[in-house]
Symmetry: C2
Subunit: 553 residues, 2 copies
């Protein structure tokens, strides 16, 4: 029997940018190509991608990418990967592929790969040495699937994101029968979603949210706004159904909400009659109690529809007393304050705001501990490798596996870049490869690194102080032609006495050095930098970036 190398390039020790390399017999298949959103410390960064260098160096080995579902943290970096590496095949289910097509189209990459629609009900397909089939999984987006890979090293089940919703809105439940069948055939390794591993019990069915909508909507006299992730097609469908039942028409507001609802309707994943849909600018023609608005912005994103509505800055939609706003999502850690701000603004407008804390208007898309246990019980794998989550979540998943009877030596606690070798059905860590972050900032991909971020951090805290001095050569010795000048930004209202002191300190330092025949610009700059830094810190306890500009004439 052969060997398969499994290398997570993202998604371990973090939430986001999920990506795993499967490598055997000189061929590579990648499962998922996600992105992450920047954290506070990633100042000015727009998106965070996995580091593709491992794949770049092995571009010729790539046979294809298989996607588990259409969320950004699983498909968002695909266009960036395809800009750097030739990807012959992108295989995914119908809706996932629909969402990815629109993304590749925007990047002008639509013709760069074969986009292969696959289904959990198809026969297995072959990519290089890997025989691949899908298993239907329930999640907060339709058409999610687990990926089963028959590799030369053994049989692997890669769950993707899932929950065990036995009453999903589309009836497409997690295919426990097929999972049990796989268990009977024998599974060597499971790479399993760990997101909610720390939480006891079971995640509620998506259907619960529909019931909440059906209770809330009929009694409302004003506009109803529902904000959720634009990819949560079932959430939108349930809101639409409850709205139509309550005699309301529906407007989709926000770019991704309009785009995704179009894709989902065109592909048959959403059922909304044409005559109940209104364009946002037509809303004014309808009584407020006949309107349902589905909008983006459930994370308080600055330019999103809901944020603009909350700040009374949206061209088509506003809220007033009597309206109801439902935030049908949970803030991603780090977004709490922005969501709170939006709630406060909306409440101040007189709207009633319902959210996860005060109404059952959201459920998670990720299974909790008992669901993870059930999956392990169905698959009965020899080894488990927790993926998709921060370290604490991976550790909690490992603990569940341990309690489920998997011996410690068969629980693989890996990190991004860990090389796991599956051979003869045994999984073990054998190596490490580089697997960091690549930042997207504006049009730049990968040109912003730690140094730039450190400089931005410094600049963000205390601003910048530029000292300009002009040196003229005279008799082979430099001399100051005029007192140094200061430019200060982001520092604060520096009092004149402090600026005077800094100017004369720079003047003094330069004159003394020049008098001592020190004329090397670098050395002069260093001395001015240190002297001014000392004075500023002593007087203000601040550390602005100090940039001496010495001009020789």
């Amino acid at each position: 029997m052969g060997v398969c190398r499994i290398i997570p390039l993202g998604g371990l020790g973090e939430v986001g940018k999920n990506m795993t390399v499967y490598e055997a017999d000189g061929a590579i298949v990648v499962v998922d190509a996600g992105l992450a959103f920047p954290r506070d410390e990633h100042l000015g960064v727009d998106l965070v991608l996995p580091d593709f260098s491992y794949l770049r160096e092995r571009e010729h080995m790539i046979r294809g990418v298989v996607l588990t579902h259409g969320h950004e943290d699983h498909v968002g970096s695909l266009p960036y990967l395809m800009r750097e590496c030739r990807v012959p095949v992108v295989a995914a289910t119908r809706l996932t592929l629909g969402l990815v097509k629109s993304k590749l189209d925007e990047h002008g990459l639509l013709r760069e790969a074969e986009l292969r629609e696959v289904s959990p009900y198809d026969e297995p397909f072959q990519l290089g040495p890997f025989r691949i089939e899908l298993v239907r999984m329930a999640h907060s987006i339709p058409d999610a699937a687990a990926v089963v890979l028959e590799t030369p090293g053994g049989r692997v089940v890669h769950t993707g994101d899932y929950k065990l919703d036995h009453t999903p809105v589309d009836g497409q439940r997690t295919d426990v029968g097929k999972l049990a069948d796989l268990g009977n055939r024998g599974v060597d390794l499971v790479l399993g979603d760990s997101t909610n591993a720390e939480r006891p019990g079971v995640t509620q069915s998506e259907r619960v949210v529909g019931e909440a909508f059906r209770q809330i909507f009929p009694g409302r006299s004003g506009r109803i706004l529902v904000s959720s992730f634009a990819s949560n097609v079932h959430r939108m469908q349930q809101a639409v159904d409850a709205g139509v039942a309550a005699g309301r028409k529906v407007a989709f507001v926000g770019r991704s909400m309009r785009k995704n609802s179009n894709i989902a309707r065109n592909l048959g994943y959403m059922d909304v009659a044409d005559d109940v849909i209104m364009r946002p600018h037509e809303l004014a023609e309808l009584p407020r109690n006949e309107q349902l608005i589905l909008c983006t912005g459930s994370q308080g994103e600055p330019m999103s529809a809901l944020t603009r509505i909350a700040y009374d800055d949206h061209p088509a939609v506003s809220v007033e007393a009597g309206d109801t706003v439902i935030i049908s999502a949970k803030p991603i850690p780090g977004n709490e304050l922005r969501v709170h701000d939006a709630i406060n603004r909306l409440a101040r407008s007189g709207a009633e705001v319902l959210h996860e804390d005060n109404a059952p208007v959201h459920v998670s898309g990720h299974g909790r501990a008992e669901e993870l246990r059930t999956i392990l019980a169905l698959l009965r794998p020899r080894a488990v490798m927790p993926v998709h989550g921060e370290f604490r979540m991976l550790a909690a998943h490992a603990q569940l596996a341990r309690e489920g009877g998997i011996p410690d030596e068969n629980i693989v606690l890996a990190e991004n870049g860990t090389v796991v070798e599956l051979s003869d059905g045994n999984a073990r860590i054998v190596d490490r490869v580089p697997a960091g972050m690549t930042f997207v900032d504006g049009l730049g991909v990968g040109d912003v690194h730690d140094v730039a971020l450190r400089d931005r951090r410094r600049l963000s805290e205390d601003g910048v102080l530029i000292v300009v001095a002009t040196l003229a050569g005279s008799n082979g010795r430099g001399a100051l032609t005029a007192p140094p000048e200061l430019i200060v930004r982001g520092f604060g209202e520096a009092a004149e006495p402090l600026l005077d002191e800094l100017r004369s300190e720079a003047d003094r330092v330069l004159r003394e050095l020049l008098a001592d025949d020190v004329t090397e610009i670098k050395l002069l700059q260093e001395h001015v930098h240190d002297a001014l830094g000392g004075v500023v810190y002593d007087r203000t306890r601040r550390r602005p970036m100090i940039l001496p500009v010495l001009v020789e004439v």
Copy 2:
């Protein structure tokens, strides 16, 4: 009957910097003088204070400050107020005053005011026209009190922060008897804590956390660390009691933990025998299962004890497999990611981390909806003014008052700076005064404003690009003496071709303008700024701060 003006200068529409002015007959009494912690957008700011300008202009009217309890959001700005205004009297209960004394001592202000210890069991005392008494309230710090002010305009109860803990750890429960008695005497206006007004039901007793400690501690084989707010004296006491009962000695780690435990022990609010206390550096001498460490850092603050321990950067304390870390606090909104980071690092060290989400190791200090209802039922006020909270919390509190039978016109939804007039027992909004934020940044108080923050934001996102050009006069016309130079920081690895392009663009713009006899420096700078900004944005979609430096020689 006279008039009393009530002006909240902080704490409304926000969580933090609580401060309320009571003004009558040309005299002012201030209840609380708190601070807030900076939000993300307050780049580089250390602390946020109320705007004292209303008080500065009326310094001669100030008769004193009364403090409800010793938390930073109620006492933290007192030293800054006292640096700007003469405060004749600071009145507070014993522990509150003990904490404040230590703070004033650090600021060298200990002799600037009469520090008057008052007690809920004392007779009322007079400050100017106000007859003042305190009512014992339970909260997450001992010795908290509501303030009752007999004003020329009517009787006001200012609750401060509270919960209705009927089984508090120190037996000092919220004095519902005295509150009922006040209700019988007749209350005109209540200013009440709104923090948990949105949450249904009742906050659990502090005692619950002690029970959790008593269950958790005995079974643990390694070190136990408990991290909480250093002001939560009862939490510390309960941890110490459970630790001593489990045969452990106790170390206080972190500056404020050491300071507050000293103050609390000296004043008799904490009972820890000398022989169970260890110094941090003595820990190595004791088996790990005989150690309990109480430490700061429950909010993931960067330089705190727990964060340094998590990053294996603490001189005296580390954690390893078998240790237990209890985070006995809830992250303040905005701190979630830092707390998650600390949990992940600690889990990676092998410690088991218990926190609010997976164990009953924290309860709030603020009463929930049913407790607020109870207080209103006891006091039966004519009018209610929700304070201490974001707008949504104030609105929820208003709704509780409405449901409790307070007519709409007697519910005062005020903001910071609103002037509320209480006259003949009637409360109504009559005016607005300035009430913004004052930033403390390093040693500077109030010198950082919106402009500096906007500059810092800009610098933090895309860095700074400085263009240096030297102009020489010749025949009355300026000329470039050399090609312009660029200094770039925080921008990214600007590719040489882009820098070359920017240099030659600056060169071109300057030469053209000089050829057209444009020599005014400001105008030249403006053109260079706009031209370079355009090129940079076009090539990179970034907007660094562009600072042209033109030196005339």
